[in-house]
Amino acid sequence: MTHYGFVIDSKSCISCHSCAVACKVENNLPDSIWWNRILTDGGPNMDTPAGTYPNLTIRNIPMGCQHCENPACVKVCPVGATYQDPETGVVRQDYDKCIGCRMCMSACPYTGVRSFNWEEPQYAIGQPMGSLDIPQHQKQVVEKCTMCWHRLAQGEKPACIEPCPARIRFWGDFDDPSSEVSQLIREREYMQLLPEQGTRPSVYYLV
């Protein structure tokens, strides 16, 4: 079998947002929609540290859909629009089946990884950007990280991997013990988000 997922060496993440911008452009995301975000583990505002000057710490956590092995979203979708691809483990959204009930959004413990187009999607520039192979964004449809399904289909990695200037994003097959991602989680300490939820995310953060 194949189990695709991500390893992010978040210890060296500098919150530059290159992954988020690459995702936004590649997937022609409408205005104000982001599938990839950077969270600050620190002070009250983005990019601010915890503690009191000069005793400070900060950590950055890039976050998108966790492509869980035991996804909470799939269980609650009444129409099967949210489903787990049996071949790859990728959690997918079928825009045409989605009825916009947003049950998946409330069931997902990872707040904010899904987006919902309340209105007709708006675009800041007057032409599509990114890949020519992505499906059209639709009104009143739930969307999220597709793991760049269109790129996987062409044997390419997701768009967020290569551009990371810190070179801390890795993607691959956890079922292949010789893959880079398998090696990384064998050799390094890692954490996952909300393990107590039992979702078994396919995103591992090196610490």
């Binding site: 079998m1 189990h3 060296s12 500098i14 919150s15 530059c16 947002h17 988020a20 911008v21 452009v25 975000r37 950077i38 969270l39 600050t40 583990d41 620190g42 009250p44 505002n45 983005m46 990019d47 601010t48 540290p49 000057y53 000069p54 400070l56 900060i58 691809d85 071949e87 790859t88 904010g112 800041a124 520039i125 007057g126 032409q127 599509p128 950007m129 020519l132 192979d133 992505i134 059209q136 399904w149 269109h150 996987l152 289909a153 044997g155 290569e162 551009p163 097959d173 079922d175 292949d176 398998s182 989680i185 390094r188 300490e189 890692y190 954490m191 996952q192 988000l193 909300l194 107590e196």
Partner: protein, 840 residues
């Protein structure tokens, strides 16, 4: 945990972060990898065939130092996206959030589409425009040039540029026109402190491949060979993120990272040791480190003897080196000719001490670095002794008090810098004060004392060079009838020249400004100097840009220019020290034109058409041609083929470039000159150094900054040092209106320590007004403990029109140091108050 402003924010649950497992605890089921072809079946619907996509090589060139190679993906004549392109050395493959967002910069709805003239009867800056044709625009400009030159002289027309589009075709086109017009040139004074300091003591290195290191240092791939990387005021993780992975990889290989910065930057958070320092005191810290080096006897005597001016005897009467000619022996001929002067090089060695005897350096294998002697009644001392005198002026305790660094930390840092090799990476923070040139002088001198230069892992500086092939070939191209007879005025001195109408002893009456690849009203200091003095003194102001910048706003005519991927170019600079080839990917948008094409059309209207008959590609062909270009691999054919050609020796991965190898320095003596006989200002200005200033400038020394200093009486009224950062979501003022970046970073902010904010009744995320006697700026206050109490930090590059009131450069001044002639970006005091809703 917190997210960004609105669209990216929202996640607040602490429970989100829990460490689950250590390595190996969670095991992976063994299974065969499914071939990716299997995916094709379930692939997303394909809306268009990607077969028609064309990929061009682009060079991102805002001068963040990167000059990164990008793939520009074009479909049906339109850019779809930009992605990372391969370098010849894959360690340099990179792109960033700005490079990835080009598609929205190119098609930014706010991009200028056609030439615009300030509406008749409106004030400059009022923002009232009328659309004109190119013919009307260029006819008017040509008429103004002729009229103004006829009335006030040729030098009355001036051109100003910075680094918004640093490339050979554009630069040479403007240079040629400037020379033919005998127009004046307004030179940038942006971050020149480090350059001045480096050039002063270590010289300007030009490689055999004709690359000049503007900011010399070992290639960043060499940092892995150090024991410790010491970062001095370099916000690498925001401003030069292309280098972060190299620092990270060095760290992962066991190199320690020390960061010295007033601000807890992302790289400070990654450091093994962060040393918070009071702004503008880096030179003092370096002097204290030198003191500890001397006190511990850790200095490298052999290096000092062989590669520095340490043993040179200095005359107490003149401050000059004691030379053999002082003893009555005339300089002897060497038979060698100086390439720049064409004159024969004469040998007149400096005198040194050997066992108490005064002998020419040429006859001393191991001259004394310490000693005093009497020469015909004049006391002479070694340069080393004079340096030690300066170093000993400040005790470690005094430095501790002024830098606000505990003595123990200074002692520990001394241990670290002594235990080399150390890779010192200096940023532009420390040089952003009036005393900024000395920070580099002192840093390099510290390394020279320790012999921590010219070896793997041992470096001081950064790494940024320019290729000189165009300067050589362009000597004929840019000045076909000789160099311009106009003035060369430092931009920071332009206000003085405009007010005094004199420069270098001549009448100087600048009446027209043409600004390109630059936004001085925003990215230079003291916006009011421009809006209130310089611009009003002009009869005519032209700006060529792709966006309506602050500078464009105050112009009489605005010309829309092609962006980077809309013309063929060679970017001859950058942090890979290479020529970088940029293909034309799309036609210039709307009515915009490439700068060289604008110049060509204008030249026709000025009667200079015969000098501009070639296309830009033909010009590039001739600039990058001839025996030298071919010999160093920088012929246009090779550039078009290879895309990237290095102009310094070495290979980033296999043999990183080492600065000052073998103790060679491009100084007058060929040695490291921590003592300079004749300090020279970086560029001539309306000021002249006094005798006292000359005497002080000969050696590393500390002077307080001009303004940001507690002894300054102004400090009582304005107790906050106004610092800035090179922004993550812009470079200088570029990308200021790129929509997707504005979603992440929508408006001007100022970061403030919560204690300082609360003391002034300022709530988190509320609007404040920063003010001093020069001006105001309104921005949203962001509580951040990363900010040193007593300071503010604002990300640069917001246009005046994006502020609710004022602008950051309203608060800074055009005062400048006579030597470095630099913008004092951070030598600024201010106070803040809650904003009352008024735009002053």
């Amino acid at each position: 945990m917190s997210g960004t402003a609105s669209p990216l924010g929202g996640l607040t649950r602490r429970s989100f972060l829990k460490t689950t497992a250590v390595a190996g605890a969670a095991t992976v089921a063994v299974g065969a990898a499914a071939p990716t072809v299997a995916l094709a079946e379930g692939a997303a619907p394909v809306t268009a065939g990607s077969a028609e996509e064309q990929v061009y090589r682009g060079v991102c060139r805002p001068n963040c130092f990167g000059f990164c190679h990008l793939n520009v993906h074009v479909h049906d004549g339109k850019v779809m996206k930009t992605t990372r392109a391969p370098y010849n050395e894959s360690c340099y493959d990179r792109i960033c959030q700005r490079g990835l967002s080009h598609v929205q910069r190119i098609y930014d709805p706010q991009r200028l589409q056609y030439p615009m003239r300030r509406a008749e009867g409106t004030e400059r800056g009022a923002g009232q425009w009328e659309r004109v044709t190119w013919d009307e625009a260029l006819d008017e400009i040509a008429g103004k040039i002729k009229e103004i030159q006829g009335k006030y002289g040729e030098s009355a027309v001036a051109f100003l540029t910075a680094s918004g589009n640093q490339a050979a075709g554009i630069t040479s086109a403007y240079s040629r026109l400037i020379a033919l017009l005998n127009a004046s040139n307004i030179g940038p004074c942006l971050d020149m402190g480090s350059y001045y300091g480096m050039a002063a003591v270590a010289g300007n290195y030009v490689s055999p491949l004709m690359g000049m290191m503007m900011w010399n240092g070992n290639e960043p791939t060499d940092a892995v060979n150090a024991k410790t990387i010491v970062v001095w005021g370099a916000n690498i993780t925001d401003a030069q993120i292309q280098n972060w992975h190299l620092i990270k990889e060095a760290k992962q290989a066991g190199v320690k990272l020390v960061v010295i910065d007033p601000i807890f930057t992302q790289i400070a958070s990654q450091a093994d040791k962060w040393i918070p320092i009071r702004p503008a005191t880096d030179t003092l810290l370096k002097l204290a480190l030198m003191r500890l080096v001397i006190e511990r006897g850790a200095h490298d005597v052999a290096y000092l003897q062989q590669h520095t001016v340490a043993p040179y005897l200095v005359r107490s009467d003149t401050g000059k080196f004691l030379r053999r000619s002082d003893t009555g022996v005339a300089p002897t001929a060497t038979g060698q000719v100086d390439a720049t002067t064409g004159q024969e090089i004469m040998l007149d060695p400096v005198m040194v001490l050997v066992d108490g005897a005064i002998v020419p350096e040429t006859e001393a294998a191991a001259p004394a670095i310490e000693g005093t002697c009497d020469f015909e009644g004049v006391e002479c001392r070694t340069a080393f002794d004079l340096l030690v005198d300066n170093i000993m002026e400040h005790t470690v305790e005094e430095v501790s008090e002024l830098t606000e660094i505990p003595v123990a930390d200074i002692e520990e840092l001394a241990d670290i810098v002594i235990d080399g090799p150390v890779y010192h990476y200096e940023g532009y923070g420390p040089q952003a004060y009036n005393n900024g040139g000395q920070t580099t002088v002192a840093g390099l001198t510290l390394c020279a004392l320790l012999g921590n230069l010219g070896k793997p892992g041992a470096s001081y500086g950064a790494f940024w060079g320019i290729g000189l092939i165009t300067n050589i070939a362009a000597a004929q191209y840019t000045a076909p009838k000789g160099p311009s007879t106009g003035f060369n005025i430092a931009s920071v001195d332009l206000k003085n020249v405009v007010e005094q109408k004199k420069f270098q002893g001549k009448d100087a009456d600048i009446k027209m400004l043409w600004m390109y690849s630059a936004n001085p009203l925003n990215t230079h200091t003291d916006t009011h100097a421009w809006t209130d003095v310089i611009i009003p003194a002009m009869d005519y102001v032209v700006t060529a840009d792709s966006a309506l910048t602050d500078t464009a706003m105050y112009s009489d005519m605005v010309l829309p220019v092609a962006q980077w991927f809309e013309l063929e170019e060679v970017a001859n600079a950058g942090q890979c020290s290479s020529y970088n080839y940029n293909e034309k990917a799309i036609e210039p948008l709307y009515e915009s034109k490439a700068d060289p094409d604008i110049i060509r059309e204008l030249a026709g209207k000025l009667g200079l058409g015969e000098f501009f008959t070639q296309s830009t590609s033909e010009v590039l062909d001739s600039l990058f041609s001839g025996p030298i270009a071919t010999a160093v691999g920088a012929s246009m054919d090779n550039l078009r083929d290879k895309k990237q050609v290095r102009f310094i020796p070495g290979d980033a991965e296999k043999k990183p470039y080492i600065a000052y190898e073998n103790g060679a320095f491009a100084t007058p003596t060929g040695r490291f000159e921590f003592y300079r006989e004749t300090p020279v200002p970086r560029t001539p200005t309306t000021k002249t150094p006094t005798a006292e200033q000359v005497a002080a400038e000969r050696l590393p020394h500390f002077e307080p900054p001009l303004e940001a200093w507690p002894e300054n009486p102004l400090y009582e009224k304005y107790p906050l040092v106004l610092m800035s950062e090179r922004p993550r979501y812009r470079v200088h003022s570029q990308w200021f209106s790129t929509p997707l970046l504005r979603e992440i970073d929508p408006e001007p902010i100022v970061k403030i320590n919560p204690a300082d904010a609360k003391a002034r009744g300022i709530a988190d995320q509320s609007y404040i007004e920063a003010y001093n006697d020069r001006g105001t700026a309104v921005a949203k206050a962001i509580y951040s403990e990363a900010i040193r109490p007593g300071t503010l930090v604002y990300p640069k590059g917001w246009q005046l029109s994006q502020h609710k009131g004022g602008g950051w450069s309203n608060l800074s001044s055009t005062e400048f140091d006579v030597w470095i002639v630099n913008n004092n970006f951070m030598d600024v005091l201010c106070e803040i108050r809650p904003w009352d809703g008024k735009d002053r």
